[in-house]
């Protein structure tokens, strides 16, 4: 076992895991943060994307211990119990969710993209979205929702 500290969704955590434990297995198995989904488990599908120090990373391609000292944000950490976030509201408005399995990874990735690049155009959004597979293939609604949410991020950056 290996012990280390990290912050998950703003809460300090002391972890003790086997070295081989991936970050996604720690988040889901130990912390029961099951909003982060795991599908391919080898870095192809993007379902497990979380934010590590604000940047989107595949949590199946990281050892939990590699998040030592980091600020990890999962899809739960993007949410607000009072109301939908602007990105969530846009996904709802555009019905950008079908089965929903890929949605947490897309929300985390697109939140990071719009935070980094509030004026990302449709081509850029599609390019970045290529790292997240939606097997319902509902990409058009997802792109529309992300485009719609841009105004909020641009306003926040100004």
């Amino acid at each position: 076992m290996i012990a280390f500290d990290l912050t998950v969704n703003g809460e300090s955590r002391s972890a003790a895991v086997e070295p081989r434990t991936t970050l996604v297995d720690y988040l889901r198995g130990e912390l029961r943060l099951t909003g982060t989904h795991v599908a391919c488990a080898h870095g192809v599908c993007g379902a497990c994307t979380v934010l590590v120090d604000g940047q989107p990373m595949r949590s199946c391609l990281m050892l939990a211990v590699q998040a030592e000292g980091a600020q990890v944000t999962t899809v739960e950490g993007l949410s607000n119990p009072e109301a939908l976030t602007p990105l969530q509201a846009a996904f709802r408005k555009h019905a950008a969710v079908q089965c929903g399995f890929c949605t947490p990874g897309i929300l985390t990735t697109m939140h990071a993209l719009l935070t980094n690049e509030p004026h990302a155009d449709e081509a850029r959004i599609r390019e970045v979205l290529s790292g997240n597979l939606c097997r319902c293939t509902g990409y058009m609604a997802i792109v529309a929702a992300v485009l719609d949410a841009r105004a909020h991020y641009a306003g926040a950056a100004a």
Binding site: P19, P56, M62, L63, V65, E68
Partner: protein, 286 residues
């Protein structure tokens, strides 16, 4: 699949990291971003006794730009290269190729050293390193040695790196003001591995190409320069010899059939990409 069991260490110096690799008798593996190694572990293609994590080793994350070229520390990530605006003039070919490397999330963690050590024949950085005559610095228990990229890549996932050596940096030679470049690759989906790719540069002096470097990746077991294509370009007006260069590339590559594309398709593709890259470099479009 869950990863196989291994021990884990996060040393705080290159010397400690190399010592740990040496003590393991060849059964340890370094890890940095893990974007190539973690999938191999998940498939249990490899089962090291120990992972030596480089995240706490200082001095590996820097991009140095000077008169002797561009040096990338082994832990420089793809997103660091994308963010370094000075590379637009210091190494424009490298910077332009970054858009083709994997996906957004992978580019936040994937590292230069990891890609070189992994040596996927379809990866961009090994192709660029060979094309540009880059030189790798390897640190072992007996000290450092420098190895030309052309001598480093031996075959698919096979390199000249000894089990007790670490890649610490790769140096790209200085870019000349008269240099033109082209980069083309084709993959089935955005961010996928290339079916074939071409990187090239040459100096345009008096309208004619000199010092041509034409490299191929993804259509062969390891990236390599193509001397016959370079000979077809040197001394010529680039656009006038595009077809001849393309033909030379097609004849020189030795791809294999696989699930993604046939060898014949890849051979043709490499030639087409070479023509496009050359015309783009010459300021014309295919």
């Amino acid at each position: 699949m869950k990863l196989p069991r291994f021990d884990y260490a996060a040393p705080t110096s290159i010397a400690q990291a190399v010592a740990l690799l040496a003590q393991s008798g060849g059964s340890a593996r370094p890890i940095a971003g893990g974007q190539s190694l973690m999938p191999l572990l998940a498939f249990r293609v490899t089962a090291p006794s120990l992972l030596v994590d480089l995240r706490k080793v200082p001095g590996l994350g820097e991009i140095t730009i000077g008169a002797d070229g561009v040096t990338l520390g082994a832990r420089v990530r793809w997103c660091d290269i994308e963010a370094e605006a000075r590379l637009a003039t210091a190494q424009p070919l490298l910077r332009a190729a970054m858009a083709h490397v994997a996906h957004y999330q992978i580019r936040q963690r994937g590292t230069v050293g990891g890609s070189l050590a992994h040596a996927d024949p379809a990866a961009e950085l090994p192709g660029l390193a060979v094309t540009c005559d880059a030189v790798l610095t390897l640190q072992g228990p007996g000290g450092a040695r420098r190895v030309a990229a052309a001598d480093f890549f031996l075959g698919p996932l096979e390199t000249a790196l000894a089990p007790d050596e670490l890649i610490t940096a790769v140096q790209f030679p200085a870019w000349s003001p008269t240099r033109r470049w082209g980069f083309q690759e084709l993959s089935r989906r955005h961010g996928d591995f290339a079916l074939a790719g071409i990187a090239l540069h040459f100096d345009l002096v008096g309208g004619r190409a000199t010092d041509a470097h034409i490299g191929v990746f993804g259509a062969c077991t390891r990236p390599h320069r193509i001397a016959s294509a370079e000979a077809a370009l040197n001394g010529q007006v680039p656009a006038a010899v595009a077809a001849a260069v393309s033909q030379a590339v097609t004849e020189a590559v030795t791809p294999m059939d696989d699930i993604h594309a046939s060898a014949a398709y890849r051979r043709d593709l490499a030639g087409v990409l070479a023509e496009r890259a050359l015309l783009a470099a010459a300021g014309e479009t295919a």
